[in-house]
Amino acid sequence: MQPSNSGDVRYDDPWYDALASGWGESADTGVPPARRGNGAAAAADVYLEVQRSAAFQEVRSRYRRFVVPAVVVFFAWYVAYVVTATTAPELMARPVAGAVNLGMLAGLGQFLTTFLFTWAYVRHARLRRDRAALELRWDTQELARGRGGAS
């Protein structure tokens, strides 16, 4: 399925558009949507269809291609920092400039990389993911509504 452009008019302020209807509203009954009768079964098919679409797989792989390496890198860097600080304090104590030693720089480096990762993630999400995800959102909801499942 390719995303249609039927929802273009809504893109002006999409994030503050009317709260979407659907799954959530009936969620407290606890009945899985797929078992709620024919209309709901059709709605479940919509999600399968969207999940298999090229557009969705592109959004998903863009998201994963960023977060998986990012999580691996920041977590490894943090664990390396904690483990080095506890197992090799003498390395961390090596002076760099004045009273500032390697450990201080590594600690401040953690702050710095956290801010940089945050900036990079937000930029990536805004430029590479938001628009496509939003189009998919409206398309999915249109499709679901068309089949009478989730409106």
């Binding site: 994030w15 503050y16 709260l19 979407a20 799954w23 959530g24 969620a27 407290d28 009954t29 606890g30 899985p32 949507p33 797929a34 479940a44 098919d45 999600y47 399968l48 969207v50 999940q51 969705f56 959004v59 998201y63 977060v67 990012a70 999580v71 920041f74 977590f75 943090y78 920092y81 904690v82 506890t86 197992t87 304090p89 003498e90 961390m92 104590a93 002076p95 004045g98 009273a99 500032v100 450990g103 201080m104 600690g107 953690q110 702050f111 956290t114 801010f115 990762f117 945050t118 993630y121 937000v122 999400a125 938001d130 995800a133 939003l134 998919l136 959102r137 999915t140 909801q141 679901a144």
Partner: protein, 530 residues
């Protein structure tokens, strides 16, 4: 500390309490009593407001007073906490905030239950959420008791007991009358006060050293009596290998636990969209990062200006380092400046505790009403009655926390915060990540992941030196200590992930393709999000 400090501090305490009660009344003027409003404040907060509220929810008195105090006492090793508490937010930003906002409604269990058989999953996730919350709550309340006693100079039993009761009553009032909207505004006010106070003190410290950080560090190192070693790791956790592993364990719990804290997860539901949730986390990271950087300056500043010996003499765990620093920066004891700064710091610390406990109480009452009650008694689950249950649950949790807080008020409960993070990382994080990212995850896997992390974490603590077997434990008289570490994270977090995997591969249940598709599409696009 003279009577002047106490009077002005008490005056400021009362002002804060009056303002927050005012907010609560104002907010609950025309409430509709809907679940949306009670748990999520109507989902209409802006990213900036929510970012401040997240920061207000997260920065506890333990950070403000505890970390700075620790740095003042042991130097570099205290700084490791600041780093861990901040870096944890990357995990929240990358993997949790947006997806949770898109998939869930009010609680952690919503996200997991979307793909699974609802009842067992809700009961499991609800139980672990309430456990985490109560641990954290008791730690904060006991902290409040000793803090107020310390700051007001009275160490009497009565002061502590009444503080615990007072804090408990106030948080129940905020939550059960004002719901998420009042809680959020209290957290915003607190975040502004806390950041304002911290910035003022940091600027004063830097002015004292004419902006020369190198001299600040050198003075701190000289004054500490440890010399250069004060500025390097090892003073607190550099002993035997048990101490080192303990620190690694704590470090893991800090960085992985934040993403599983129920009161943090519930904050993402207060904004309209996933993008707003992302932007609120960015605000929060900025505020929290700046705050923890300043706690480092305050810690070394206290070491340089007060000296670790004077800090230790006032309170063995260093909690009074920042108030003493404020007194000194304002011109010393007896001066007007010192009195005012001291009173401000004391009031800010008190505000901090109140805002944090309100957030936790709300999140745990949501878990009780929305997950546990709704699963155990399905028939009466219409929204209005669920909110009524949540209000009653807030009262119940408040009472439980007061009783527990009174029982353990004389004990050193600092480990409870680390334990709450460890339980959140072991019981809540695996199930959350598996259900967001693993196609084949099943109901049995979810239930096993929760209990497989929760039970080991709690049992290991019961068998650890914090409970028995050493002079500093809860029960110094007996010895059933089998596990050497104080923090169970190093063992229990992998166990939680392992149990979830094991439960999934051994279950005969075929994962529902359609519901996985629904969860995945919803989580990444926001389709059908409430």
């Amino acid at each position: 500390m003279t009577v002047d400090h106490r009077t002005s501090a008490l005056l400021l305490f009362s002002t804060f309490v009056a303002v927050t009660l005012g907010i609560t009344t104002w907010v609950s003027r025309h409430r509709h009593g809907s679940a949306e409003e009670f748990y999520a404040g109507g989902r209409l907060f802006s990213p900036m407001e929510n970012g401040f509220a997240i920061a207000g929810d997260y920065m506890s008195a333990a950070s403000f007073l505890g970390i700075s105090g620790l740095i003042a006492l042991v130097g570099y090793d205290g700084m490791l906490y600041s780093v861990g508490f901040l870096v944890a937010w990357l995990l929240v930003l990358f993997l949790v905030a947006e997806l949770v906002r898109n998939c869930g409604r009010f609680t952690l269990a919503d996200v997991v239950a979307a793909r699974m058989r609802e009842r067992p999953v809700r009961i499991a996730a609800g139980t672990s959420s309430v456990t985490v919350s109560v641990l954290y709550l008791v730690a904060q309340m006991v902290g409040a008791g000793s803090l107020v006693a310390l700051l007001l100079g009275g160490t009497g039993e009565a002061v502590r007991a009444w503080t615990v009761i007072g804090v408990g009553v106030l948080m129940v009032i905020y939550v059960s009358l004002g719901g998420m909207r009042a809680t959020t505004w209290i957290q915003i006010v607190k975040a502004v006060l806390l950041l304002g106070g911290t910035i003022a003190l940091t600027v004063l410290v830097l002015l004292r050293f004419h902006g020369d950080i190198d001299r600040l560090l050198r003075t701190a190192a000289e004054r500490s009596g440890h010399g250069e070693a004060f500025l390097a790791p090892g003073l607190a956790y550099g002993g035997d290998w048990t101490a080192r592993f303990d620190f690694i364990s704590l470090g893991l719990a800090l960085v992985l636990g934040t993403a599983g804290l129920p009161h943090i997860l519930s904050r993402f539901y207060t904004v309209p969209t996933a993008r707003a949730a992302r932007r609120s986390v960015v605000w929060a990271i900025g505020l929290i990062g700046g705050f923890y950087l300043m706690t480092i300056v305050l810690g070394f500043g206290a070491a340089a200006l007060i000296g670790p010996d004077a800090v230790r003499a006032s309170d063995a765990s260093g909690n009074t380092a920042v108030p003493l620093l404020a007194l000194d920066l304002g011109g010393g004891a007896g001066s007007t400046g010192g009195t005012i700064l001291f009173a401000i710091v004391a009031a800010v610390a008190f505000a901090t505790i109140l805002a944090v406990v309100a957030g936790i109480t709300l999140a745990s009452s949501a878990s009780v009403a929305h997950d546990l009650y709704a699963s155990l008694r399905r028939r009466s689950g219409e929204p209005r009655s669920e909110v009524a249950v949540a209000r009653v649950a807030a009262v119940g949790i408040g009472l439980l926390a007061i009783v527990l807080g009174l029982l353990v008020r004389d004990l050193n409960v600092a480990f409870l915060v680390g334990l709450a993070f460890a339980v959140a990382a072991s019981a809540n994080l695996p199930v959350l990540l598996y259900s967001l990212f693993w196609r084949g995850f099943t109901t049995r896997g979810a239930v096993w992941a929760v209990y497989g992390g929760l039970v080991p974490a709690v049992v290991l603590v019961l068998l650890s030196p914090v409970v028995s077997g050493s002079p500093a434990s809860l029960f110094p008289g007996v010895d059933f200590q089998l596990f050497p570490l104080q923090n169970p994270g190093l063992v229990s977090i992998p166990l939680g992930f392992l149990a979830g995997w094991l439960g999934t591969v051994t279950s005969t249940e075929v994962p529902d393709e359609a519901r996985h598709a629904e969860a995945e599409v919803r989580s990444l696009t926001g389709a059908g999000a409430v």
